[in-house]
């Protein structure tokens, strides 16, 4: 059929976008398989340490998270097709044809990712299982592929697939042609008058005060772990978003206008940083929450080796998935800067200066996100270690792993960003 072939033709030409989409899907399905195996397979842990209700709960939440990651990746996959859908709509294409087009692309890649993800997930389950048996001193009975687990995994994959289809429909249905084509709205006019906006604002510095103040309160409280686990996370959820969206931009624009207006490198760095940060605000919120939650949980409840290993897996998952997402976001954002950097080169910025701008932006970005996301966890860990609730060794492991992943993704982002811009200015 014509549409199917056409769909493939276009798909083949969008290699890098497809790669990212598939990467996310594979990671998503891998962890899905892993967690489902952990929940449903009785033999995965030695008989002495079956999972209690809470651990199972954690697995389920993690499961939901990885499924959601799939949606997130799909959102981006769709976003680059805005213009294409706009042209289809303009040409008078039926919605069923557009859906057929999107589905062919979406599910052909999806079908490739499913077996890969399941294979990796199964491999991961074997490693996980072997490890737990080993550290609990029971001999490993060998792994048996659980039919139940496979079925559950496929069911959830289908559910995810169904929601992807719903997203595709919403995508086509929702966007108006003129926005799809990137139509230049007359900017003198504001929003189309549809609804009323509420207009009251809490000052942003208040959130910083709450953030810092709460940290002190928590640090001096009695039930360290529970407090950090519950109240710490509440504070993070409430404050981090606002700090990134409102407070930091204010500082940024002050710095730019008052201190860096005479500094041609920092001016551009800060301006770009502002935008990159705001694009990643939500991811950072999730990252801070995820870090603090898992670290506190590990400290509080992961006493048995089985639980501990499981939580470690969850911790790894959160860090890997979120780091990848942040990396993806930043690279997507940097792609939009080609024209700007070209313009800078034209008006007289040397290649060295442009490299400096990029390097500083990536460095400051990662510095900020590492700082914001680890200030609570590191403080908590220091207190936990000094109160001997958790071993220093474990604490260092956890933080080091996070810092290591951030460092590696930071380097990858820097190289890619730099090369992309170099291509443009040469």
């Amino acid at each position: 059929m014509n549409i199917r072939r056409f769909s493939f033709t276009i798909l083949k030409k969008e290699k890098s976008h497809n790669l990212f989409y598939m990467l996310f899907l594979i990671v998503s399905i891998t962890f899905m398989t892993l967690f489902i195996n952990i929940i449903t397979d009785e033999m995965i842990l030695p008989p002495t340490m079956n999972l209690d209700g809470i651990a199972t709960g954690i697995c389920m939440i993690s499961l939901v998270i990885v499924v959601v990651i799939g949606f997130y990746a799909y959102n981006y996959f769709l976003a680059i097709k805005l213009k294409l859908i706009g042209i289809f709509k303009l040409s008078g294409t039926y919605i069923t044809s557009m859906l057929q087009f999107l589905f062919t692309q979406t599910f052909s890649l999806y079908l490739v990712c499913i077996p890969i993800g399941i294979l990796l997930g199964t491999g991961g389950s074997i490693i996980f299982s072997k490890f737990v048996y080993q550290i609990s001193g029971v001999s490993y009975p060998g792994f048996q592929i659980s039919l139940k687990a496979t079925i559950y995994t496929l069911v959830i994959v289908l559910v995810q697939a169904f929601y992807l289809a719903v997203m595709a429909y919403g995508f086509i249905h929702r966007h108006e042609i003129k926005t799809l084509l990137g139509y230049q709205q007359s900017k003198e006019h504001g929003e189309e008058a549809h609804y009323l906006n509420f207009n009251f604002e809490i000052p942003s510095w208040l959130f910083v005060i709450i953030f810092v103040g709460a940290l002190f309160l928590l640090a001096t409280s009695k039930n360290l772990v529970e407090n950090f686990l519950v109240y710490g996370n509440v504070v993070l959820i409430v404050c981090i978003g606002k700090i990134i969206d409102k407070f930091i931009p204010k500082i940024n624009s002050y710095l730019r206008k008052q201190k860096c207006i005479t500094d041609k490198i920092n001016l551009i760095t800060l301006a770009n940083l502002d935008v990159t940060l705001s694009r990643c605000a939500m991811l950072l919120q999730v990252l801070s929450f995820g870090l603090l939650f898992t670290i506190c949980y590990i400290t509080a409840y992961a006493k048995s080796p089985g639980d501990l290993t499981l939580m470690y897996v969850v911790y790894l998952m959160i860090i890997i998935v979120l780091s990848l997402s942040i990396m993806y976001q930043v690279l997507m954002e940097s792609r939009t800067r080609n024209k700007s950097f070209k313009q800078l080169a034209k008006i007289g910025y040397t290649k060295k200066e442009i490299t400096s701008v990029i390097a500083k932006e990536v460095f400051l970005f990662y510095l900020l996100i590492v700082f914001l996301s680890t200030i609570y966890p590191i403080t908590a860990l220091i207190l936990f270690v000094s109160s001997k609730i958790i071993s220093a060794f474990l604490a260092i492991q956890l933080i080091t792993f996070f810092l290591f992943v951030m460092f590696v993704t930071g380097i990858i982002v820097y190289q890619n960003y730099k090369n992309m811009i170099y291509q443009e200015i040469e």
Binding site: I10, E14, G86, L90, G92, I95, E176, E188, H189, G190
Partner: protein, 254 residues
């Protein structure tokens, strides 16, 4: 015969909480079959908004739009798609071509997505490409073509379904005078073949190819001039006058 009938069209925007602005204010417009209409006016005056509304791309805040006797606002999605496919062809300033597809594939997009048979598709694309003088470029890609060629590819795509109404927003905006002239001559040819053409432009030279020019300012159609029996040069001068009445007044400044 009326092809487009827009009555009391208004489009409202919100600048801030209590500050509303009418991009269009109760505009009435009737376009008859075979007309060649140019819509001009200052930036932000509402020309593109008006064009979008009378061509079904946008909805008015209030008012009625009837195209070929059908009420656009009450059409379902299915009907609207079908209607666009059969009756309308759109051309924009920035070509809106898909970079990763060849010119042939770009022109064929409407046909491909409407499941036309391969043989018929080849025929239609070949035919329109020949008419526009780009049949030798069909295997090339957009990034291998000049501005003038790209616009012709975009026009080919708009016309491959043989619509009766052509809608163009600044079709020569990114082109130089020679290419602009060639494109406008093509439009003239299509108009002579019976197609109704409505374009938005701020270029008086371009507008002089039309048979009727509307000057939109501050959300209303401020002035309307028709060519009738004037020469193109006379019409052009009249259009220039309407658009820039201050230009030649202060000769001392220059």
């Amino acid at each position: 015969m009326e092809v487009i009938n827009a009555s009391k069209i208004s489009k409202l925007y919100k600048l801030s909480k209590d500050n509303f602005v009418f991009a269009l204010n109760e505009v009435n417009l009737v376009v008859n079959e075979g007309e060649f209409v140019a819509i001009m006016g200052p930036s932000g005056a509402g020309k593109s908004t008006l064009l979008n509304i009378i061509s079904s791309i946008d909805l008015p805040s209030s008012g009625k739009v009837i195209i070929e006797g059908k009420k656009i606002q009450t059409m379902g999605e299915y009907e609207l798609s079908s209607f666009r496919y059969q009756h309308l062809g759109f051309i924009f300033q920035n070509f809106s071509l898909i970079e990763i597809l060849s010119n042939f594939e770009n022109i064929a997009v409407p046909l491909t997505m409407n499941k036309e048979k391969e043989a018929k598709k080849q025929q239609s694309v070949q035919k329109i490409a020949e008419k526009l003088g780009i049949d030798t470029l069909l295997d090339k890609y957009p990034n291998e073509c000049s501005g003038g060629q790209l616009q012709r590819v975009a026009i080919a795509r708009a016309l491959v379904t043989n619509p009766k109404i052509i809608i163009a927003d600044e079709p020569t905006g990114n082109l130089d005078s020679k290419n602009s002239h060639n494109i406008m001559m093509l439009f003239t040819t299509f108009n002579q073949e019976g197609k109704t053409i409505i374009i938005v432009t701020h270029n008086s030279m371009v507008a002089s190819y039309a048979s009727r020019v509307l000057y939109v300012n501050d959300g209303k159609i401020e002035k309307e001039i028709v060519r009738k029996n004037k020469t193109k040069k006379e019409f052009f001068n009249e259009i220039v006058d309407v658009n820039s009445n201050e230009t030649f007044m202060n000769e001392e400044d220059c």
